[in-house]
Symmetry: C2
Subunit: 160 residues, 2 copies
Amino acid sequence: MSDNSAISLPNASPAAESPFIQELVKQWRAQDGRGAWDKISDEVLIAPYIVTREQRRSLPLMGDPDAKTLLRLELFYSAVGLAIERRTGVAAMPMIKLHQEGFGRVVLLAGRLVVVSRNLRDVHRFGFESMEKLAAEGEKLVDAGVEMVNSFPEVVNYNS
Amino acid sequence: MSDNSAISLPNASPAAESPFIQELVKQWRAQDGRGAWDKISDEVLIAPYIVTREQRRSLPLMGDPDAKTLLRLELFYSAVGLAIERRTGVAAMPMIKLHQEGFGRVVLLAGRLVVVSRNLRDVHRFGFESMEKLAAEGEKLVDAGVEMVNSFPEVVNYNS
């Protein structure tokens, strides 16, 4: 028996059990080569994704988003890609293009197929109102990506 | 009659007449809002793409490629995308992802289709041995992109 139970929060959200959230947590744990976050619970680890309406309003949109925000964005879409891979066996790689001022586009590519495509705006404020919304949004993107892979396998497997 | 003939070089390469080179020249002219390059011939304008074997060897691969090199790379692939659009009616947008040290990937996206995909290396040295090779490489990418668009129209036109 491990002592993992000691570090989970008493009011842990059931959303934390979603496969997408589990994938997202793995992405963050993978950043932690030295084990500095070993005693930090999953929920605390991904808490920066929760940005309430009030917090959103207080975040300035001037200039370019900072490195922490960009990492949050990148790992969110990496987690979507890995969850798609887990369900289809096909790797989906994120590419992010940011213009100035937090606008841009993110795509997830599997072979020659764009399995997920999103325009980005207000990247400075990238986040979700609750853990439930984070899980739901992640799962929605994963579902859409899986459907694309299944719809166009010949494009995914195209060899050039 | 315009006086364009006055600024073309006497030994102008026939490659300069290729549709791809014409598209590339347009990309560069579009950067020149003030008309500062109006008297510069097309061949001189895109001369930085010509990097001989000796020049390649002398270019250091340390650190990240500089802004001029990145612009050269971006406008090359923008020109490929616009030449594809001219032949198919479908816009093909470049996305470039550079890792450290000049490695990365470039894709051209039309709808949900990756019409061109290239791994990048030695971006510091991005260039071609001659105008003929620049034209040939550009046309090759355009041809491949057009073929992809024609092979998978349902992916290009997919609405999500």
